[in-house]
Symmetry: D2
Subunit: 423 residues, 4 copies
């Protein structure tokens, strides 16, 4: 485990430059009537969960080029998220994926996580792959399957995932279905949707009273003609049928080209139905790239709606990173995502919301754009760094990670060929 | 007005070849246990409305290259649709657009239409353009506008459109809003949607008890960042809030790239919420091309869902063509659309639905595809022609139109430079 | 090996119905001045290669659901293609992928193929995956790699593939590169393209004088920000720099949404630079679905350009199916593709090219569309079936495959868990 | 004409805050070894042309909502660009569009422009609209038209545009063709491209020896099935056939969804074939929105390639804004574009190119991203403002424009209903 002293010693090297930037920003914001301390505090509070499967190198159907030192057990995954949290003070939760991360001894796992300052976020079921020895196959679907036996298998699996989550202190279940079809005619759209609803109703009944269920949508992949829950409209239909514990989950990569995602976010929030949020970035499809690496302005616009909603009293969704790390070190990739997320969040906090509403009421598109871009063009990295520093993290997390050769240490411990369970 | 005798005389020339094809098809279908007469009768019943604005040459923002002989009055538009119906026996209704087609004497207009065998389909309001002398502008929206005065103007206009429709025997109002924004920040998504709902509620109250209201959605154009009703999910939300007389309207061109439209159709139908349907085709956006000219298989797949729904007892939506005729003679273009629509409909009727359901239940994607493509690959033009012939139409409508030099006659009557009101 | 007598006995059951359809079509075409015999002969001549990797179940990054009886060796792959050819008489060539299919004894392999009536089409190199024991990794590219050592490895591999191909009688090398980047900045576009050109020049030098090299392009996947050869323009640039033995290869799935592929085909053909063609279909990206299963009209429009080019004397490209079979039996999937390809080809042959050119010169878009759709709407399946029958194939290949329980036999021979080498 | 003293007096109000930001930035950059003066000087040199048609309110096919005070003559357009240049010191050239802006007295027009400090950039021909009294129509194309008479009309028009440009001191002709087709079959792709090449060759012959010709490409609109010059590959083919004075022009809005434009820019630059550049922004298609309003990071990435090319000694392209102002005041819109362009340019200048090349050679995607984003996240507005200030422009151009009520003045002079010629 990384010692706070080590981080502090690295921080010292950057302190002067950091303080200089922070002071400038503080003065500049004060001039605009904004108290930088309030922003820093909100930033510190903004924590994003890391999923257990994101700690190993990802791949595509064309192959996977593993890096070394990947975590091979749940305990090692927790250690990796702990390390991330120590460096960034931005990710105080881990999101488990069953069956890749079945906790054998929930108490011990919980205690280990607590040592790293980590909670357990939403648990994720997996009915898009067959597990060895599985009697029935999900090749043609799970909750929507034509066979009641397969549906029951998938329902039972989801119930089991809830049970695991309860033991760890999770409060939500995320359901992503790959169910769909590759060819016109293969699946009866109406029956598939009805069956999915019925299956979800079974799972919903098993949900503890203080839990939520998040229903993810995705237009394609791994099915390439249709997906049972293809868009937010379908997810919304299902969530409304299920009841008040059911919500829609938005994954940034799960949209058709050119979709106005920020508007979907606003629409769901005003209906109090946005439950979860998966961060990543993409240029073409569900590319699962580092958050903020391709469309940082879109990310800011989405945060602008999220802050607008949270300011209006809408419940805050569960935040999680959902990316695949094919060409970067997974931990470095996650640190870049965590940085980009908080930058966008801070920029959204800086939006002069009163002026924006005035410009909107006056249909003054020029001013409205200027107000948003004034926030976006502000260099807020000192705020994000300060929030980390105050909570014991590093001013330059990747710098520390590289200077301390942490990956090399992990390879030493775990080996060059370790491959994380999961994708 | 075109005389049935003229059409008959042209039909004679094609009779032998037509009958040969029909006989072959009849025998082939009989071999498959399908009664061709039943199919022909269903085809005859399938009538599509033509909108009044589709009778003139359309344009783009880069200009418009008018043809000649375009209808300059409501009476001439009715005459054009009457001509189309005489030739094709496929379009027994006209859909008016207010204020382009305000009927001065509703009784006379109704009588004129009846002479042509035409009914009045859904009426369309227009709040996306300012009319000369209009006190307030729709530049920044209508039903969603920030100003209560503009919203009231738009609400009152819609009520007036209902009143016109009642006088003519229409039973539905179609609302398409261009409301939205061109720049991030310009519009408050939440307020805009709330205002739209409130405005629609005012209009809904004015709706006669036997009327329906159709809410169209569209992702972009003429606004290029956001649209208040961007997708079926938003339309569905509004329709559900409004009540049981409110429905979603699907326009084939109003979707993002690669959208699975047939699945949206199935989802809306199973919720009994598909109210209207606008036919056209497109490669890039809302290109408004001739129906079936770009993606005839997609059109068939959509009809496959429509037939599946109608077979299940779901209410039949209101059918309309909504295209723009930039490089073709508008009447010829409409005849090609009417032909393509009925071809797709007949092919969907030929799908062996029992076998399809079996293949679907067995997850036999190969057979399911074969069943659909067997219907699609069948050359059903003889059935479509026969349905026209039985109802007094032409075996070859465009052939008759050209042979009789009808466009030349219209130019003679209306002039080379006549330009239809509307887009 | 399937006996011709078995196929004949199945054909007998369909003979009457088939002959009836063929006679009707023959008469109909004769009426249009078209000799059906000429069309049937051209169809027989149209043969498409099957790649060795297409004989097993494909997967996605989310997993793979294998079927049974997959071929485990090059010999078994040849047997599978031989079986396909026996049933369809449409695929007289196999396209090998090195290193998945290294022929240990080229003479024996050639002889085995000859027994099945098979030739060896273009050979394919693979520098998108590391082979076990490979000293250097392709993780960051191959022919474009920053390291000269990795580039040399990839160059040498391509030379070796040519050598294997020469031993088998192939006459072309297909190069598909996955080289590119996942993040802005990761790769220097200019250097990467220059290096690729230099590497290709090395390979080009090794090319025998009667060989061709085909350069494939693809906009994304497995890299998700940029691809070194992203479009036909880049491939064209490389091919022009290389020389007259270098050509562009078009894969139907390798385009951005809404691309007009048929126009690219026409442009390349008129420059005598279309070398190879990979068939498949897709809705979203490189979905690798059965040819003709999603956009059969686009396939027809592409064939319309191919036939236009071949009629103008342009050289015929090398034809190959490149699909992934995730939910269908691979052999059935290939049979559906082969059928769809020949249907589109025959429809394109039926286009009245003289009338089309007249309509085009007259800017008569209505007639031009009618001419194309008249061909497309014609049910030409009897011609395609007859071409198979004449060459000893089955009137209903999938029917025979299922009736004879061939997959079950293969599972018996090869086992339930056999997994083909390759993707 | 706006007096420098007025601008200065407004600048005084912002001076302290501006200087504070500039000092901070200067110190910060100095710390990184970057001389802010050099950056400011390069920024001052970066001038973008404004097209004459961009000074009035734009519209869509659904209508146009004019603002007031639009320029009605060439002289008023020059005055508007002069005003923009006085405020921003960023646009020292105007780009004329013939026949909308035929200069009756070239000498006087040149002198007027000089008074405003303006040059004449590339001249633009228009063969996508018919002019009143035009004998032949461009409805079905111009340089690619099937009729030699129409092609000659379009060729002659382009020659005439060159002649007008010569009289004004322009050095380039920009050709954008709307030629294409709306329906499959309508146009013969091969003939259309050949005819276009032949027509361009005629125009090319008329080009003075020190002139360039820029060939624009666009995938769709106003034609919705195909465009004769659909992509950079086609433009490149034409430019290479024409000769060394012919170049490709890139318009940011003329690409299919998800295109990697920055890579196209790099590829053209390394071939010395990037001639012109049109700035705007878009979410869906050729939306012609304010530059930098939708995808500012993409704009930065494009500038990163432009700077990479210019640093390598590639010729600098001709820069122009090409946008449509549907909901904003056109002058304010242009000021926002000019600001965004220079911001992106300065950020690209700040990229540590040595470190970037090192990271690229090391395949260190994490560092490469950090280097780019470090530049992008820097708040460079003080540099852009300072470059304006030094050249006599305003620190806050829109602020001055609004404070002085300039639009009101223009309405007073030109009227509320003045409508600019052009789109």
């Amino acid at each position: 485990m990384l010692q706070k002293e080590e981080i502090n010693s690295y921080n010292k090297r950057h302190e002067t430059v950091h303080q200089r930037s922070l002071d400038f920003l503080s003065e500049k914001l004060a001039h605009q009537g904004v108290d930088i301390e309030g922003i820093i505090n909100k930033t510190r509070y903004f924590q994003v969960a890391v999923p257990s499967w994101a700690l190993g190198t990802g791949g595509t159907r064309f192959g996977r080029f593993s890096g070394g030192g990947e975590p091979g057990s749940l305990e090692e995954k927790i250690a990796d998220v702990g390390l991330l949290h120590a460096l960034t003070a931005s990710c105080n939760a881990i999101s488990l994926h069953i069956p890749w991360d079945i906790p054998q001894d929930a108490g011990a796992v919980k205690a280990l996580a607590a040592k790293h300052g980590l909670l357990f976020d939403a648990v994720n079921s997996n009915t898009f792959q067959d597990q060895s020895g599985q009697g029935q196959s999900y090749k043609y679907g799970s909750l929507s399957h034509t066979s009641a036996i397969v549906r029951q298998l998938a329902i039972d699996h989801n119930k089991e995932v809830i049970d695991h989550g309860m033991a760890l202190g999770s409060k939500a279940l995320t359901v992503w279905l790959s169910d769909g079809s590759c060819f016109p005619g293969q699946q009866n759209f109406r029956k598939a949707l009805s069956r999915t609803l019925e299956s979800l109703q079974q799972i919903y009944k098993h949900l503890p009273s203080d839990w939520k269920i998040f229903i993810e949508y995705k237009p394609y992949e791994p099915n390439f003609y249709s997906t049972v829950i293809q868009d937010w409209g379908t997810s919304s239909f299902l969530a409304n049928q299920l009841g008040e514990k059911a919500f829609t989950l938005v994954d940034l990569g799960h949209h058709l080209p050119n979709t106005n995602i920020e508007q979907i976010v606003a629409t769901l929030m005003m209906q109090q139905k946005l439950g979860g949020f998966h961060f990543n970035d993409s240029k073409f499809g569900d590319d699962d790239l580092t958050t903020g690496s391709i469309k940082p302005y879109q990310l800011f616009l989405i945060f602008n709606e999220l802050v607008e909603g949270m300011t209006s009293g809408d419940p805050e969704p569960a935040w999680m990173i959902d990316a695949s790390h094919n060409v970067k070190d997974p931990l470095e990739d996650l640190m870049q995502s965590l940085e980009a997320i908080r930058i966008a969040y801070v920029q959204a906090l800086l939006v002069d919301r009163v002026a924006l509403h005035e410009a909107q009421e006056a249909n003054d598109a020029v001013s409205a754009q200027n107000i948003l871009q004034d926030a976006f063009r502000t260099d807020v990295r000192a705020i994000v760094a300060e929030a980390r520093r105050v909570d014991g993290g590093a001013l330059d997390p990747i710098g520390v990670f590289r200077a301390m050769d942490i990956r090399k240490q992990l390879i030493g411990q775990r080996g060059e060929k370790a491959i994380a369970t999961g994708l």
